[in-house]
Symmetry: none
Subunit: 140 residues, 2 copies
Amino acid sequence: MLCGTYHYNIDPKGRLNFPAKLREDLGSSFMVTCSVADRCLVVYSMAEWEKLVAKVESLPMGKSRAVRRRLFANAQEVSPDKQGRILIPQELMTYAQLSKEATVLGISNYCEIWDDSLLEQQMNEEDQQMLAETVEELGL
Amino acid sequence: MLCGTYHYNIDPKGRLNFPAKLREDLGSSFMVTCSVADRCLVVYSMAEWEKLVAKVESLPMGKSRAVRRRLFANAQEVSPDKQGRILIPQELMTYAQLSKEATVLGISNYCEIWDDSLLEQQMNEEDQQMLAETVEELGL
DNA sequence: TTCTTAGTGGGTAAAAGTGTGTAATTTTGG
DNA sequence: CCAAAATTACACACTTTTACCCACTAAGAA
């Protein structure tokens, strides 16, 4: 179960420490790609990634060409070094506007990597209305 | 698993560096031909190419004549040189409007080679509606 | 305290990518 | 059919990037 909020600095070499707790669950290598919903990166374990790939490949090419392009072309397999850091590819750094301060979120079956200031913004902007409705629906 | 975005310059001799990560998966030689869907080139490992050939040959000639022409007449087997570069045949350069700046995309079981400006255009033009629907369907 | 683990910083060697020269091959024209 | 020209293949040198390694600090547990 992936959970928790972890704050780190990206070092001058572009390396981001990846939380030990999450590494335990994700295994020795995992997939990083752009979120299609937000300006952040998402991380999947190889197992979760395979599931996603299977789903996409079950769709007809005509309909899924654009999604395939975005999903796969932005994806990278990464393995943490001995100290648990990963190297974020330049394109992904740019997409997620990552510079120095970054936060990793564990979200049940995947993770998100955010630039700190974008995350703060996101938290403020999120639709409170929808949030309230969903909470009601869940009976929380 | 072919994935990632790789940006290179085509040198004055018409050689394009082909990403080491993708070469690992594709093997020591592979097929390059025109995309039937877009103004870009597509690259298949020899294994994937065989599959594709089998599929096409299973279609009736009447229906598939045009596709066969495009696919086979433009297909070329290429092997990277010691530094990992491939020489793009002139016809393919012309078809994909390749000049200097090119981008290689890994897309699961094949690759695409784009002229940078065409790729940018393509990404902007793609049907956002359909993209959103497909993303929703996949639960991303 | 001392040991262990997580996180940070930096050096070095290997690999990837780029440019250029030369030999081999193919094409073209006489 | 041969020689010149063009093209392609191969080799080498160089630069940049990435992977790998080691040392250090901080925090928590024994």
